[in-house]
C-alpha cells in the first residue's frame, strides 16, 4: 500500500531565489535532493553572434547586457581585448580610472550577491542595507557615464571623458563610510548562529573539483586556491596596486561569504590607492576612425566579480567586425558545479548553493 516515490520538481524558471530565469530540475526524496540538473537558455539572445555583425566599437554595448550586475567589469574586458587585438596603448590616467571604476563595480556586484544571498537564507535586513550602499555606487556610475546599470563605461583606447567635477568628493565620502557599512553587515551575519548553521559545511566544492570544472572567482578562492587574474596576469593598473587576495580553505558557503566580504575591503583599498595616485594626462589614445584588425586572434581574461571573464576575438584582415567572438562567462562555468554542490543536500541548501555561486542569468545564457 505504501511505496516510496521520488518527486520531481522544477525549481524555476519562475522562482523567488533562482536569480533570474534559471530552471533546476530536482528529484527529491522527501526533502533531500537526489538528482539536480540546471536547465539554462531562457534568456538567450545570441550576444556573441550579434557582436560579430557589428563593428568593434558597437560591441561593447552588448557586454553591458551580459552580466548586468557588473557591466563595468564586462566593459573593461571587452575594451582591453580589443586594445590587445589592435595593439593600442591606453594612457595611464585612463588605466587608473578604469581600475577604480572596476573596483567600484566589484563592490556593487558583491553587494548584490550579499543582499540576495542573505535574503535567500532569510536575513531580510541585510538585503536592504546592501542595496542602500549599492545606490551610492550607481550614483557614481551615473555621474561618470550617465547611466547606472548598463554603463558602457569605457571606449576602446581609453575613456570617452575624464572624471566629472565633484567625483573625487563622492568617492571620498563613500570610502569614509563604507568600512562601517561592511561591519554592519558582518554584525548581522558573521557570528549569527543561524547564519553559520545554514552556511558552514553547506554546498562544499573541493579545490580539485573546482579546478576540474574550471570554476573561478571567489568560489575557487574559498577552496584555498589563490588564483586571481588581477595578480596572476595583471591588467589595467593592477600591477601598481597593493592588495591581497583573500582565501579560505573550508570551501563551503560560509568560506565564500568570508572571502567576498574580505574582497570588498580589498576593493575599497584599491579605490583609495587609485584616488591617491591618480596621474594627470589624457584619457584617450589616438585612434583611427575605423578599426581594422591586424592580428588574427586574441584571448583576454580579466577578473570579474564572479570569476574569470574571458573574451576571445578573431579579427579578419580588412574587416571592421570581429570574425568570431566568444565569451568565457564565469557564471556559466561556475554553474556546472551546482549538481556537485546540491546533490545530497536539502532544498534549503540548493537555495544557498545558487546564492553562493552568485550567478546572473544574463551572462549564463548570453
Amino acid at each position: 500500500m505504501f511505496k516510496n516515490e521520488e518527486m520531481e520538481i522544477n525549481l524555476g524558471p519562475q522562482h523567488p531565489s533562482t536569480h533570474g530565469v534559471l530552471r533546476v530540475k530536482l528529484r527529491l526524496d522527501g526533502e533531500t535532493i537526489t538528482h539536480c540538473r540546471p536547465v539554462i537558455g531562457y534568456l538567450h539572445r545570441g550576444v556573441e553572434k550579434i557582436c560579430e555583425n557589428q563593428t568593434f566599437f558597437q560591441g561593447q554595448v552588448w557586454t553591458d547586457r551580459m552580466d548586468y550586475c557588473s557591466a563595468v567589469a564586462n566593459n573593461l574586458g571587452w575594451a582591453e581585448a580589443n586594445e590587445k587585438l589592435f595593439g593600442i596603448t591606453v594612457p595611464r590616467r585612463a588605466q587608473y580610472i578604469r581600475t577604480m571604476l572596476n573596483e567600484f563595480n566589484r563592490l556593487a556586484s558583491h553587494l548584490i550577491w550579499l543582499a540576495t544571498h542573505a535574503l535567500d537564507i532569510g536575513a531580510m535586513t541585510v538585503f536592504l542595507y546592501a542595496f542602500r550602499e549599492r545606490e551610492d555606487i550607481l550614483d557614481m556610475n551615473e555621474a561618470f557615464c550617465g547611466s547606472r546599470l548598463t554603463t558602457t563605461a569605457f571606449r576602446i583606447g581609453g575613456l570617452r571623458e575624464d572624471l566629472p567635477p565633484g567625483f573625487e568628493k563622492m568617492v571620498t565620502k563613500f570610502l569614509a563610510k563604507f568600512p562601517a557599512c561592511i561591519e554592519e553587515y558582518e554584525n548581522l551575519l558573521s557570528e549569527n548562529r543561524i547564519w553559520k548553521k545554514r552556511t558552514i559545511g553547506v554546498a562544499k566544492l573541493s579545490a580539485e573539483d573546482a579546478i576540474a570544472m574550471g570554476v573561478t572567482g571567489p568560489v575557487l578562492r574559498a577552496a584555498g586556491v589563490p588564483y586571481d587574474i588581477r595578480k596572476a596576469f595583471p591588467y589595467a593598473a593592477y600591477a601598481e596596486m597593493d592588495f591581497e587576495i583573500p582565501t579560505r580553505t573550508e570551501a563551503d558557503t560560509y568560506a565564500r561569504y568570508l572571502v567576498r566580504m574580505a574582497e570588498m575591503r580589498q576593493s575599497a583599498r584599491i579605490i583609495q590607492q587609485c584616488m591617491d595616485g591618480m596621474p594627470e594626462g589624457p584619457v584617450m589614445a589616438k585612434l583611427p576612425k575605423i578599426l581594422k584588425a591586424e592580428v588574427n586572434e586574441v584571448y583576454h581574461a580579466t577578473e570579474a566579480p564572479k570569476g574569470e571573464i574571458g573574451y576571445y576575438l578573431v579579427g579578419e584582415k580588412g574587416s571592421g567586425n570581429p570574425y568570431r567572438f566568444h565569451v568565457r562567462a564565469p557564471g556559466f562555468i561556475n554553474l556546472q558545479s551546482l549538481p556537485k554542490m546540491a546533490e545530497g543536500g536539502l532544498i534549503a541548501d540548493i537555495v544557498a548553493a545558487i546564492g553562493t555561486l552568485d550567478i546572473v542569468l544574463g551572462e549564463i545564457d548570453r
Binding site: 531565489s17 536575513a123 548553521k197 536539502l346 534549503a348
Partner: protein, 388 residues
C-alpha cells in the same frame, strides 16, 4: 446584582464575541501596519516610513498635518498608511483563483479552518479578571447586567486553548494537500511535522505555570501567577517564557521558523495557489495567532493584566506606596501593552535573523527545547513542592 436569565446570558455572550471580533479586526491591521513601520525603520526602507497620499481623503488630511508639524513623531507615524490601505484593497479586490485540479471543497474550507481556529482560542482568554463592565440600567434587555472579562470562564481553559490552536494546523496541511501542486504539498508536510513537534515543548512550557498556580483556568492562573508566588517561582517562569516564545514563533510560522511558507525555497509554501481573500484569511490567521501567542504569554508569564511580569508584582506589592496603589491593581491596558510588546518582539526578530533549515528546526525542537521544557517543569514542581 441580578442573575441573568438564559436568553440574557446568550445575548451577553454574543456581545462579548462581537467585542472579541472587533478587537481582533482592530489589532490585526494595526499589527500589519506596525510590522511595515517597524521593519521599515529597522531596515531603512524608503516606502513604509514615508509614503503618504497626496491631498485627498483622511490620509491626505493627515499628510498635510504631518508636513505642517513635521517634527511631531506621533503625526509622522501615520506615514506609510497608504501602503497598508493598498495592501488590504489588493487582498479584497484580487481575483479568487481556483486551480483546475484542486480539491474544491477542501481548498475552500482550509482557510476558513485556519481562521476559525485562530479566533476561537480567544474564548478562553480573559482580558480582564472579574467584571469587564456593567451595562447601564437603561440598556434594553440586558440593562444592569455585568459582562465578565472573558467569554467562557472554563476551568480547563488551557486545554481548550491548546486543543483549538492545534486545529489550526489542519488548515495549513489541508491547504497544502488540496492545492494539488508540489510546492504547497511540501509546505503542508513541513508544517505538519513542525507544528506537531513544537506543540510538545509549547504545552510543557505552559505546564510550568499550571504546576505553580494549581489551576487551568486562564483568569485564575494569571491572578495567582502575578501575586501569589515566592521568589523562587521566578526561575521556572523566565525559562518557561523563553521556551514558550520560541515555540510560539514556530507555531505561528514566523521567522526564523517560517518553514511552511519559506518564500525563498517553497515560493510561498502552502498558500502558493491561493489568492485574493482566501489568501487573506491565512494572512489574518497568522496575525491572529501571533496575537493569541502574545496574549497567552502575557497571561501565563508576564502577569496578565497586572503590571509586573514573572510574578514580581506579588513580591513588590507590599512596598508600593498607597498613593500609587493604582499600579498594584489589574488594568486591561497593561494586558494590551504586554501584547504589543510581544508583537514588537516578533517583528524585531524577523528583521534580525535568518531562517533555519527544515532539519535544523526539527533538531531545535527535539534536542533542545523539549529537554529544556522538561527540566523547567521539574524545576516548577520542585518550587511548588518546597517553596509554596
Amino acid at each position: 446584582m441580578p442573575t441573568p436569565t438564559l436568553t440574557q446570558s446568550i445575548v451577553i455572550t454574543l456581545i462579548q464575541c462581537l467585542l472579541v471580533v472587533i478587537f481582533v479586526f482592530v489589532v490585526v491591521p494595526l499589527t500589519v501596519f506596525a510590522e511595515r513601520k517597524v521593519l521599515g525603520h529597522l531596515q531603512q526602507r524608503l516606502g513604509s516610513t514615508r509614503v503618504a497620499s497626496g491631498h485627498v481623503g483622511i490620509t491626505g488630511w493627515m499628510n498635510r498635518g504631518m508636513w505642517k508639524w513635521g517634527r511631531i513623531p506621533v503625526l509622522s507615524y501615520w506615514r506609510g498608511i497608504p501602503g497598508l490601505v493598498a495592501d488590504v484593497l489588493k487582498l479584497i479586490l484580487k481575483e479568487d483563483i481556483l486551480p483546475a485540479k484542486a480539491d474544491k471543497f477542501v481548498f475552500f474550507i482550509a482557510p476558513a479552518l485556519s481562521m476559525v481556529a485562530a479566533v476561537v482560542v480567544f474564548a478562553a482568554v480573559s482580558f480582564v479578571p472579574g467584571v469587564f463592565f456593567t451595562f447601564p440600567a437603561w440598556f434594553p434587555f440586558v440593562g444592569g447586567l455585568p459582562v465578565s472579562g472573558g467569554i467562557a470562564d472554563i476551568n480547563v481553559g488551557l486545554l481548550w486553548i491548546l486543543g483549538v490552536a492545534s486545529v489550526g494546523v489542519y488548515g495549513i496541511v489541508l491547504a497544502g494537500w488540496a492545492s494539488n501542486s508540489k510546492y504547497p504539498l511540501l509546505g503542508g508536510l513541513r508544517s505538519a511535522a513542525q507544528m506537531v513537534s513544537y506543540e510538545v515543548p509549547l504545552a510543557m512550557s505552559l505546564l510550568a505555570p499550571v504546576v505553580l498556580s494549581a489551576s487551568l483556568n486562564f483568569g485564575e492562573m494569571s491572578a495567582r501567577m502575578a501575586t501569589g508566588l515566592p521568589f523562587w517561582g521566578l526561575v521556572p517562569q523566565i525559562l518557561g517564557f523563553l521556551i514558550y516564545l520560541t515555540c510560539g514563533f514556530a507555531e505561528t510560522n514566523r521567522l526564523p521558523f517560517d518553514m511552511p511558507e519559506a518564500e525563498n525555497e517553497l515560493v510561498a509554501g502552502f498558500h502558493t495557489e491561493y489568492s485574493g481573500m482566501k489568501f487573506g484569511f491565512f494572512y489574518l490567521a497568522e496575525y491572529i495567532n501571533m496575537t493569541v501567542v502574545a496574549a497567552l504569554a502575557s497571561g501565563f508569564f508576564l502577569g496578565g493584566p497586572w503590571l509586573l511580569p514573572f510574578g514580581l508584582q506579588g513580591l513588590v506589592n507590599p512596598y508600593i506606596p498607597a498613593a500609587l496603589s493604582w499600579f498594584a491593581e489589574p488594568h486591561a491596558i497593561f494586558f494590551v501593552v504586554k501584547i504589543i510588546f510581544i508583537l514588537f518582539t516578533y517583528i524585531w526578530v524577523r528583521g534580525t535573523i535568518p531562517r533555519y533549515r527544515y532539519d535544523q528546526v526539527m533538531s531545535v525542537a527535539w534536542k533542545y527545547l523539549i529537554p529544556m521544557a522538561l527540566f523547567n517543569l521539574l524545576l516548577a514542581a520542585v518550587v511548588r513542592c518546597f517553596a509554596v
